[in-house]
């Protein structure tokens, strides 16, 4: 009998295609797992509404669960429990930083965008940084510059 814990463990193998160090569990986009005998239903919610990676993630979920012997998989994308950046796990935050992406600061849901101004540099940990652009190479990233190590870096945006 497959348990919810099994499914979570397996879904930890499914990575965000744009940030391959981050699993869907770490990202916090899996909102519900229902198991009915041979059927596993997974509910997920996108980080950004226009995230183009969502179809890839759906396919990867089906593939990985089938690999572990689940006969039937249903993936439903909805906004019932919408994603925000606080849902990224501690393990996920660490992985982001090691990947060179500043993790989003934890916030109390009303995002004060001033927190974008002095993001901690993932390379040298300095906060002597500035926001270059609230938009980056993917919908979920912003671009920053560090005055101390002189590197330009990206942040996973708080939302």
């Amino acid at each position: 009998m497959v348990t919810e814990e099994n499914v979570k463990e397996w879904l930890d193998e499914v990575k965000d295609p744009e940030i391959p160090v981050l699993s869907l569990i770490d990202l916090g986009v899996i909102t519900k797992i229902d198991i009915h005998e041979s059927l596993v239903k997974v509910a997920m919610t996108p980080t950004f509404v226009g995230c183009p990676a969502i179809d890839y993630m759906k396919n990867d979920i089906v593939e990985v669960l089938q690999k572990h012997g689940v006969k039937e998989v249903e993936v439903d994308v909805n906004f019932e429990q919408s994603w925000n950046s606080n849902k990224i796990t501690q393990k996920g935050r660490k992985a982001l930083k090691e990947f060179g992406l500043a993790p989003p600061p934890k916030h109390v849901l009303i995002v004060d965008l001033d927190i974008l101004e002095h993001v901690q540099c993932p390379n040298c940990n300095s906060t002597n940084t500035e926001l270059k652009s609230p938009f980056g190479p993917t919908a979920c990233r912003s671009i920053h510059h560090c005055f101390d190590c002189k590197e330009t870096f990206e942040q996973f945006k708080p939302l």
Binding site: N78, S133, P134, F135
Partner: protein, 253 residues
């Protein structure tokens, strides 16, 4: 409570069409932005807006309308409900920037108001989209404040665009024939209320610049978009946007 589905659908159509068409216009900046960061910004906002329109068309689909791709790609201009503001050609950067500021300020307030919508799926989506739009309004506000008090040239360019765009921007708030129903069913608090909050919000930003906001009570709004009356610019945009889909509806990439 029984929600008036026709009134709900009408509201979602106009929002979805606004997002799709402005998303397409924003995407026309890809490769042409005056700065690399601006190129990326307009391209990112394009991606957000087209994605948001897809999610809105998906809600319409659940209410019995066609599938999102068909609805987006197979209608003619007179079947679109977007405001004329979003279909105008990009012009120069100042024109696109002012439009982005006027439109996104309204849209951010609209989605904030819709978090209380009686149709739960729309309320949930609005709750999500309002967070994303903060980045759009932040982007617009930063640039309007900077360029709106930078040089004589930047101020006069923005002022010209503002004067030209204001009548179209007020056209966004064209009331629906079903406005009373929409308010009564607690779908949305109404275009009038939205307009009032929008006027206050744009004034906050404009007052930090050397720009002058025209007397909005004297402006004659450009209406018509919501009922399918469009400028000559919309059909060519749709033709271009749907070109691949019309050649091969099953094309995948």
């Amino acid at each position: 409570m029984m929600t008036n589905t026709e009134a709900l659908k009408e509201l979602i159509y106009k929002m979805a069409d606004d997002q799709l068409i402005l998303g397409h216009r924003n995407s026309e900046w890809t490769g042409f932005g005056p700065l690399l960061e601006e190129d990326i910004a307009f391209s990112s906002m394009a991606q957000d807006k087209v994605g948001q329109s897809y999610a809105l068309y998906q809600i319409l689909n659940d209410l019995g309308e066609g599938d999102p791709d068909t609805v987006a790609f197979m209608r003619n201009a007179d079947q679109f409900h977007n405001s004329q503001l979003v279909e105008l050609p990009n012009g120069e950067y100042d024109f696109s920037l002012v439009r982005h500021f006027l439109f996104d300020t309204a849209e951010a307030i609209r989605f904030q108001m819709l978090t209380n919508c009686s149709h739960e799926p729309l309320a949930q989506l609005a709750n999500k989209i309002k967070g994303e739009l903060r980045y759009h309004t932040m982007h617009a506000d930063i640039w309007i404040k900077q360029l709106g008090r930078a040089t004589e040239e930047s101020v006069s360019k923005l002022q010209d665009s503002l004067d030209r765009l204001i009548p179209y921007a007020i056209g966004v708030f064209e009331p629906s024939p079903m406005e009373d129903q929409i308010i009564e069913d607690k779908i949305f608090e109404g275009e009038g209320k939205l307009r009032q909050q929008w006027e206050e919000a744009i004034l906050v930003v404009i007052s930090k610049t050397s720009l002058n906001l025209p007397d909005l009570s004297l402006v004659k709004p450009v209406y018509g978009g919501r009922v399918g009356q469009h400028t000559e610019h919309l059909q060519p945009l749709l033709d271009e946007m749907s070109e691949v889909f019309k050649i091969d509806p099953t094309a995948d990439w």
